[in-house]
Symmetry: C2
Subunit: 357 residues, 2 copies
DNA sequence: CTGAAAGCGCTTACAG
DNA sequence: CTGAAAGCGCTTACAG
């Protein structure tokens, strides 16, 4: 359960011995609050050097740090960017989040996070609650699942926020009418199929995410279009759906191998995690990944290169995604939806050696 | 470079069409600001049900969300907990951070993050800047490296914060005079050595982190003490230092194998990452991990079980660490330093099969 | 139970 | 260049 921080009270404790305030600094320096404020603002002109020096000295002596909340209520916006992540432990998300933190800090913004379990209704609640922070922007990562009704509600809640001059950036796999950093899933999937074709693979099978999502659809579209363009076809039963997890990949590969092992020469999984599960399934079936049948994943998350053999995958340059999202959030808002594409790079490793013809 | 958000100005844009305020709600409901405030505070008694109903209705209609900054400047503390992480992509940190987010949300707190590159001087700057948020607590994860002088400065900066009634919690491997969630590194390392002894291993070698840190020392102490207790000794050169990374582990293992492969029957690495590198080095030397020589890691990060063979490791229940840190932060401050221990669990997998005597 | 008023810590026109 | 004053959006005694 999530408690609204704006509604719940902060845990009470001993009476707060308060931190130094601007007034304390002003007094210590023997100037007015207004002057102290200006002296501490590097952008402010019209401050005599001596006054500034005196104030800065006093501030340092007192360990003064301006109260960010007070400043935010004065100025109207907080120097905050909110990031909604489903699960930070997912390396895919961690990579994006890392980029956000770096870039936000560089821009003088504080990055705040909220988990959402990737359930859309959860996300609506979180967006609403985070609006209370009056953040400069909200960045949504990953894909979300939920009914059309829920999607509409989320869109409305976000629109409410943007109508108050907030910025929304979608960093990931979703089609929402806001500025978006586009994860090159479709392009990357097609490029992967092409690379495998060049290596001599002709009979691919797919392990698809069980739940529908934009990410899943994009990947599938990339694979199917890529294959079609090369004259390849998927046989009946050569596409199975499974949960996006190691175990999901394991089970899916098992089914694939049981049903029609002879007609498949390479298994494409929609994520590295599933591909890793698939590799285990092959081993348990007495095969060696890359020998009888090739395997390829997607995302090139940390670890793919440390499998044995190394897992062929597609690097989505996610490290850039987070930074790009912050950059988009910093631009002035525009009428039309803006889009920043990332690059996809196929990384061929041991699980898909050149296939003898 | 990090820009102080308290000093830098928020990026300016179009004039802000402001969000609904309490006054808007009060007017819409035909009551005073004071009454509206009370009606929206679930904890407030002395509000007539009808008045409350009217206010709540108006608030919903206007999509009102209280301004968290204004509330914070009124009450003196923000419902925020700040987390300092070196690198969120490290699964070790991600696990802790995940626990923090979950538990913080449950407690109605917002979690804010700042990266620190694990350099102590960076951390000092960040602590200082984050003090401006007047957060309820600061949680420091991981180990930090830096001079004694720097450590003292960090301690001073943190003390400054606690003297203003802030709470500091160390979630990880460090000895600082604040409430601490203790990562059971020493206990876990000793338990690992004992487990390996039971499996028949008698000649261990160590891959240690290159840089000194509390984490490194604790792990080393656990291994050495555990070994000594069992009458085992480390031969000369059976302990090598390397960067905490896959490549560091690779290089270290390579050296170990070149120098004295015949005297070693198991390699203990201070982290799973290094252990994974070590496994690659063995393979490149024509060996199979677990066959000629065993390998064990530490942390049991995601992925260890998916190696081939599975990597023996020690699970530190880090998922609990983040939650425990938040719980500590919520307790009322006390004079003496409090300590919450986590549990260590040895997980034996394929890289350390029972060794024939 | 309800409202008028003061106050939290800042910033920023507005006068000097 | 400097200061007095108003105002940001809230909460909370203090009177009724």
């Amino acid at each position: 359960m999530i408690i609204d921080p704006a509604t719940s009270k902060p845990p009470s404790g001993a009476p707060r011995r308060t931190a130094a305030t601007l007034l304390d600094v002003a007094r210590a320096a023997g100037v007015s609050k207004a002057s102290a404020s200006r002296a501490l603002d590097p952008a402010s002109q019209y401050v005599s050097p001596e006054l500034r020096a005196r104030v800065v000295e006093a501030a340092n002596r007192l360990g003064y740090q301006p109260n960010a909340s007070a400043r935010a209520t004065t100025t109207g916006t907080a120097a905050v960017v909110v990031v909604l992540v489903s699960d930070i432990r997912d390396p895919y998300n961690a990579e994006i989040v890392h980029g956000v933190i770096e870039q936000a800090n560089r821009a003088g913004l504080v990055a705040t996070f909220a988990g959402t379990d990737s359930a859309i209704d959860d996300e609506i609640r979180v967006v609403r609650m985070m609006r209370g922070l009056r953040p400069h922007a909200m960045i949504l990562t990953g894909a979300r699942s939920g009914s059309t009704v829920s999607r509409t509600s989320l869109q409305e809640e976000l629109a409410r926020y943007t109508s108050d001059d907030g910025r929304v950036v979608i960093a990931g796999d979703d089609e929402l009418p806001f500025d978006t950093v586009v994860v090159p899933r479709r392009v990357g999937a097609a490029a992967l199929v092409a690379a495998l074709f060049d290596l001599g693979y002709r009979s691919p099978a797919m392990i698809l995410p069980e739940h529908d999502s934009v990410a899943a659809r994009e990947w599938e579209a990339g694979v199917v279009e890529g294959a079609r363009g090369l004259g390849l076809r998927f046989g009946y039963g050569a596409a199975v759906r499974a949960p996006v997890s190691r175990d999901g990949g394991y089970e899916a590969a098992k089914r694939l191998l049981e049903d029609r092992p002879e007609e498949i020469d390479v298994v494409l999984a929609a994520s590295d995690t599933m591909a890793i599960g698939a590799m285990s399934a092959m081993r348990d079936a007495g095969m060696t990944p890359g020998v009888e049948i090739g395997v390829a994943g997607f995302d090139d998350t940390v670890g793919a290169e440390d499998m044995t053999p190394g897992l062929t995958s597609v690097d989505l340059s996610l490290a850039r995604a987070g930074a790009a999202a912050v950059e988009l959030a910093l631009l002035r808002p525009e009428e039309e939806r803006r889009t920043v594409p990332l690059e996809a790079r196929v990384v061929v490793r041991g699980t898909t050696p050149p296939r003898p013809a």
